[in-house]
């Protein structure tokens, strides 16, 4: 195929217009001075430039005061190249490495490292970076073993450097408003009774690889993989990843702990490899777990589910109290519903904590005050309240910003390793409950490192 003729590469299609065009001389494109004022620039490396690493790179590129100066991925021909190509488009000079040790030896100007490698090497990478005197932002889950996660927490503490774990909802203004102002401060839901969270995903094929660009077998073996199949589908292998429960649940069970201001007392669970071939999918593809929490205001039972072969209702977290329900999701709207018997919520609207319900849904009481007589209309839905928060940033941006501001000494971390470790323990216990086939209790020292 004549690729040049096809002109589908990013640059070429622009060139194809530019070279034949006549109007560029009067194009309103400008070369303006720097888009925004310079802040204290943080020099960053990204270790692991697969899908998630590229998402974090894209997000960094939308921020000011952050400069990605090094990239590291053992798959030079594909992951590393894609990320490097993107940085080149942004005309940012950077080093590229296939081994993080070489990167740490060479890149002396680094302030911080973002780690987006497979779970089993998070600890190795994080500990090495911390020891090298660098602050670390590490993707969730922390690891795939308890020992390695504990080692990360200890290493963070000993190094005196920052270790933020990528539970990005912790910095999301929607979640901060729901958990802080609504739940904790004004106790909008009354007494919280139960919570329900899930992340269901559709059937996904195994990941393949472009056949012109496999990683050499010796390189794979050196870094802990037996084959390209394992390398590309590491999430499902017990020695490499931690499975959907940990991968997805680390974000959402963290919300339970955070919003309920407690850690679980017990968990029972059901799950297994119900859909995929257990030879290539070692972790359970379907898991349902029930946690019990003892909060300051009584017992809360929480259900968590993840299914990897059906996407019904996608992902959400819902909290239910005797006065209302709050439902939120990272990618969608957050809604709050009042129980019929609960005191009215106009005061919270007046205080700016909630937005007015849609016109047709205004509370009955409010309508009857305006004029006498029952208005007959089409069916009025019960009121659902929206939040006065608009969140239009990329999902990971506030959490990365929190990290970079902490590096600058301007903020506290929203998810330091100790906090994420508690979630990690809560989730590991689900696997224990699955194996035991009964309810498993948490001991207080389970959560200490």
């Amino acid at each position: 195929m004549n690729k040049r003729k096809m002109q589908i590469s990013r640059r070429s299609f622009l060139t194809s217009v530019a070279t034949v065009g006549t109007g560029l001389a009067v194009s309103p494109r400008v070369v303006a001075p720097s888009a925004t004022g310079k802040t204290d620039t943080v020099n960053v490396a990204i270790v692991g430039t697969g899908t998630q690493g590229q998402t974090l790179l894209e997000t960094c590129l939308k921020m000011t005061g952050v400069r990605v100066i090094a990239l590291c991925d053992l798959w030079a021909e594909f992951n590393l190249k894609r990320a490097s190509d993107m940085l080149n488009e942004y005309r940012q000079s950077h080093g590229t490495y296939t081994d993080y040790r070489e990167m740490l030896d060479t890149e002396t100007a680094l302030d911080a490292v973002i780690i987006a490698t497979p779970d089993f090497c998070h600890a190795e990478h994080a500990v090495a970076c911390l020891k090298a005197g660098l602050h670390v932002y590490c993707e969730a889950p922390m690891s795939n073993t308890l020992d390695a996660a504990r080692q990360m927490v200890r290493s963070g503490r000993e190094s005196g450097k920052l270790l933020q774990i990528g539970h990005q909802r912790r910095s999301n203004p929607k979640y901060r408003h729901c958990g802080g102002a609504l739940l904790r401060e004004v106790k909008l839901l009354g007494k919280v009774i139960a919570a329900n969270a899930q992340w269901n995903r559709p059937v996904q094929p195994d990941r393949g690889w472009p056949r012109r660009a496999p990683v050499e077998e010796a390189t794979l073996n050196k870094y802990g993989y037996e084959s390209m199949q394992q390398f590309r589908n590491w999430q499902w292998y017990k020695k490499l990843g931690s499975g959907p429960l940990m991968e997805l649940g680390s974000h959402q069970v963290d919300i339970l702990d955070w919003f309920l201001e407690a850690l679980p007392k017990s968990v029972m669970a059901s799950g297994g490899n119900d859909y995929y071939d257990p030879k290539t999918h070692e972790w359970p593809d379907t898991v349902m777990a029930v946690y019990e929490y003892e909060t300051k205001r009584g017992t809360v039972r929480a259900f968590y589910q993840t299914i990897s072969s059906n996407s019904n209702m996608g992902s959400f977290e819902t909290f239910m109290g005797d006065e209302g329900t709050m439902s939120m999701s990272e990618s969608g709207q957050c809604r709050v519903y009042r129980e019929e018997s609960a005191p009215e919520w106009r005061r919270w609207v007046k205080m700016g904590l909630l937005l007015e319900p849609e016109e047709k849904q205004k509370e009955e009481k409010e309508k009857s005050e305006s004029e006498p007589g029952l208005e007959v209309t089409d069916t009025i839905e019960p009121p659902s309240y929206r939040l006065p928060i608009t969140f239009d940033e990329p999902n990971h941006k506030p959490h990365l910003e929190n990290f970079f501001n902490a590096v600058r000494g301007q903020e506290q971390l929203n998810c330091p390793a100790e906090v994420a470790y508690a979630t990690f323990v809560s989730l590991l216990k689900v696997n224990e409950a699955l194996e035991a086939g009964r309810k498993v209790l948490f001991e207080t020292d389970d959560f200490t490192t």
């Binding site: 195929m1 003729k5 096809m6 002109q7 589908i8 590469s9 990013r10 299609f13 622009l14 194809s16 217009v17 530019a18 034949v20 006549t22 109007g23 560029l24 009067v26 194009s27 309103p28 494109r29 400008v30 070369v31 303006a32 720097s34 888009a35 925004t36 899908t51 998630q52 894209e58 590129l61 939308k62 921020m63 488009e89 942004y90 005309r91 987006a116 497979p118 779970d119 969730a140 990528g166 990005q168 559709p202 059937v203 996904q204 094929p205 990941r207 393949g208 472009p210 056949r211 012109r212 990843g241 991968e247 974000h251 996407s311 992902s315 608009t390 969140f391 239009d392 940033e393 990971h396």
Partner: protein, 340 residues
Amino acid sequence: MNATVYVWRPATTRGRTHLHPATMERQSTVTGPQGTLPGTHRFRHLAMGTTFEIFAAIADGRYAEHAAYAAFEELDRIERQLSRYIENSDISRISSLPADQALRVGLDTFQCLELSCDLWVETHGAFDVTVGSLLDCFREHSSPSSETLRSIGERMGMNLVELDPSEHSVRLRRSPIRIDLGGIGKGYAVDRMAAMLCEWSIETALVHAGHSSVVALAPPRRTKGWPIVLKSERGAGGTLVRFDLQNSSVSGSGLRKGKHIVDPRTGRYVEERQAAWCRGPNAAVTDALSTAFMVMSPEEIEKYCVRHPDIAAITVVTQAKDGTQTEQVLRFGDWEGATS
């Protein structure tokens, strides 16, 4: 590892392709490859409000599936940047951007805006992605007042959008400006998907976005290209032209969805133009130009195609004469090798 939200749906129709012969397509639709194509695998995915399809001619079906999955992931990633219906997409962020404040955007968004800017200049405003407010207005009112249109017009035009390539940032000279990449985003995505297939060494393939923008890579063996047919709802037999497409693109635009094309230069719906197609080097360009050709006069299109020898166009114009409507098919540029 952090998870992204997957909107991937399984390719339920995957497998060996035995395509039906082209059925009567409604106008402005580019009918996909026809006839039986042994060894071709077909994959579908819903995104950007339509069904994207990949036809890949390669013996290894499992490999084709992996490559298609990678291409669809790329599509979903692009949609998250470009969609005005996703609240934290770049395009939504630009919509809430105050005047004179720079916003850094992703590479895909920036490149779409750069190309949109160039095409806005080249088409003298006929292709204009700042048309979002106008489209919103027509969604709410069937015939907005001239006062409303004037006010909207003051917030339209790519001269109000500054693009800074050194920072990949966008700055608006007035606000709010609502960007709608509906006339270019699908074409851009199809180009990127085709690029991804090439990265996977799949070079005999066709990708389309809901039949409206098509990229053809190398032709299937013993053919001159992927067979394409452009049809009109009216006229004899409906078929306007057949041709084989390889290493290039074609896009269609029209009134199939009702009155949905507004002339950004006048703020009025297009009434006399039924459909427009553009053939050219890549789908981002043909997507945008097929939209522009819906509103440009035949003289303007002719001039454009003379100036750009790699662009060819067909438009269908209806004219009311003595109480009856007549349909006129106009061809521009090089259609050599095409048959009726």
